[in-house]
């Protein structure tokens, strides 16, 4: 098919065959994990997959405008999707890891709130610079009215641009994205940490206190790596830029869920194999 003949919306089309293949791969990896580590490993892998899916889904909410946003040519935050999501999610992971001793629920929620706080501060500062530094009001290029506030958008777009800044719906999307990303990253970390805490003492013939620094470091490294895997996958799904939950590209999230689940399962399986084999 030539570029001219290609459908303009082809990037957003769902491919049922690819989705089915993804689900089969997921089941195969889960089966392999059950074979090598039927209790601890499988439980950890399921947690890792849920965490990865949260990150993949959450990244869709983050309003990212890329290079055009840096010139006030398009709405969103002027940086990369994966980078901003990683910045917010890892800030959440930092808080979640600190709260790990207080139990899984507290740690995951703390991680989520940490990511949400990072995004709330960043999004507010973005609008602060646009309004007070550059004299430009926020305007969406994808909707006529803000879905939350009802504010009209079209007449606030300057000539020759697709909009600029962060309308309120994009701000809310950013905070939701940060919360989901921070919670997902923390969940992956906690699952791996509990697995390594249980297996490292036997593997290394040492006490739990002795293996803790190694377990924390390895679990943390894997959590950061899996965060980046899921954030980059989602960046491909939304082809670089997105305004937030009101953007038509947001509807592509189902295939990112499948892709994130498969990628997280595969990466998580490798992380489990280092103690299960």
């Amino acid at each position: 098919m030539s570029a001219v003949a290609a459908k303009p919306t082809a990037g957003g089309a769902m491919n049922p065959t690819a989705m089915a293949v993804g689900v089969v791969m997921l089941i195969v990896i889960l089966g392999a994990c059950w074979y090598v580590s039927p209790t601890l490993g499988l439980t950890a892998l399921i947690g890792i997959i849920i965490g990865g899916v949260l990150i993949g889904f959450g990244t869709h909410f983050v309003p990212v405008g890329g290079a055009p946003a840096a010139m006030g040519q398009a709405p969103g935050i002027a940086t990369g999707v994966a980078m901003l999501a990683a910045g917010a999610g890892l800030a959440g992971l930092f808080g979640g890891a600190w709260a790990a001793e207080q139990g899984m629920v507290i740690a995951v929620v703390t991680g989520g709130i940490g990511g949400g706080m990072m995004m709330a501060i960043t999004c507010m500062m973005v609008n602060f610079v646009y309004v007070f530094g550059m004299g430009i009001p926020a305007a969406s290029g994808k909707v006529l009215n803000d879905p939350i506030t009802g504010d009209s958008q079209a007449e606030y777009k300057s000539q020759g641009t697709e909009g600029h800044g962060l309308p309120f719906v994009s701000f809310v999307g950013g905070v939701i994205g940060g919360i989901l990303g921070g919670a997902g990253g923390t969940l992956i970390y906690l699952e791996l940490l509990s697995l390594y805490e249980a297996t490292f003492p036997t593997l290394m013939s040492a006490t739990t206190a002795q293996i803790m620094p190694v377990a924390v470091a390895v679990a943390g490294m894997f959590a950061v790596a899996m965060f980046l895997v899921n954030a980059v996958l989602t960046a491909y799904n939304i082809t670089g830029t997105i305004e937030g939950p009101h953007d038509p590209k947001f509807k592509r999230w189902p295939r990112a869920i499948v892709a994130s689940a498969v990628a997280s399962a595969l990466c998580g399986f490798v992380a489990i194999l280092i103690v299960a084999m």
Binding site: M71, G87, M117, M125, M134, P137, V216
Partner: protein, 299 residues
């Protein structure tokens, strides 16, 4: 009680370090044209606008600063393991990390500019000589402050992550905050200073960046000087608030209701920033007004 007071003191110090780091990071990236506005520096010669702007997009700012901060922290950690004083170890680690940044900056400028040879863009040796050291100096401040705050978080506040991992996380967050806040100011307000104030750059003007200064051709040190006043300060404020408030809510409130206290305060902080953001948005709409008349049919 003493522990909480000590924690608040450390929190204040980390917040101050983060503010300086954010400001230096944004200025460094603007002098080097590392953020998203680099697309215009790369595009300009292709549109016939030759320039003397430094062009060193090594990578996006978050992964670049993740690498440099983790490198500085890893080396500092190794020096500390060799029983070298912590402050000296951090300085030495950051100096070595900055040399890596300088190598990346030089090769990035040469590689990216050489790729524009077919459009007649020259490689200026004097730019490498004068700009690279300035970006390295700013990068040192940003990396040193980030590694130092990570050392405080790890050593004084007792975060479980090892120093290099903390520096990787906060390095990525530093790049994310700095590029998100500082990029628009450099991209729109400085590179397109010849466009109307109070409006985005029309897409048709892409590549036509300002290339001349009051005397002679504009260089990247001028850009750093200009953007530091608002873009750099805002980036510093952004990263400083992120680090300070995250630590502050944890240190003061994590013991309340078994951890739920810190969560409740976090939610409250998010709500406060939501209200401030909405106020800024409405203020701009009221004071600046629409660019065109409101269309009733669309509304």
């Amino acid at each position: 009680m003493e522990q909480i007071v000590f924690g608040i003191g450390i929190t204040a110090l980390t917040g101050a370090l983060a503010t300086v780091a954010g400001s230096a990071e944004d200025t460094e990236s603007n002098i080097g044209s590392q953020g998203d506005p680099n697309s215009q520096v790369q595009l300009a010669p292709q549109m016939g606008f030759l320039h003397r702007i430094f062009n060193k997009a090594v990578a996006g700012e978050p992964p670049a600063y993740g690498l440099w901060c983790a490198l500085g922290a890893g080396l500092a950690w190794a020096f500390m393991a060799m029983q070298i004083n912590a402050i000296l170890a951090i300085v030495l680690g950051c100096v070595l990390a900055v040399f890596v940044q300088g190598v990346y900056a030089t090769t990035a400028y040469l590689g990216r500019t050489a790729s524009l040879a077919k459009f007649g863009q020259p490689v200026y040796v004097d730019i490498i000589k004068s700009m690279t050291t300035v970006t390295m100096a700013h990068a040192f401040i940003a990396i040193f402050c980030t590694v130092a705050l990570c050392q405080l978080i790890n050593g004084a506040l007792g975060h479980p992550f090892p120093l290099p991992l903390l520096a990787l996380i906060w390095g990525i967050a530093l790049g994310a905050a700095g590029s998100a806040t500082g990029n628009p100011y450099y991209g729109k307000e400085r590179q397109y200073q010849n466009q109307k104030f109070g409006a985005g750059v029309p897409i048709s003007a892409s590549g036509n960046i300002v290339r001349y200064a009051e005397a002679g051709e504009r260089n990247s040190i001028d850009n750093g000087f200009f953007t530091h006043k608002i873009g750099g300060s805002a980036s510093g404020l952004c990263f400083g608030l992120i680090v300070f408030l995250e630590l502050w809510r944890t240190i003061l409130f994590e013991r309340i209701y078994a951890g739920w206290g810190a969560i409740a305060v976090g939610v409250l902080i998010i709500l406060i920033f939501t209200v401030i953001d909405r106020y800024i948005e409405v203020w701009a709409r009221k004071n600046y007004g629409p660019y065109t008349a409101v269309k009733e049919a669309e509304a």
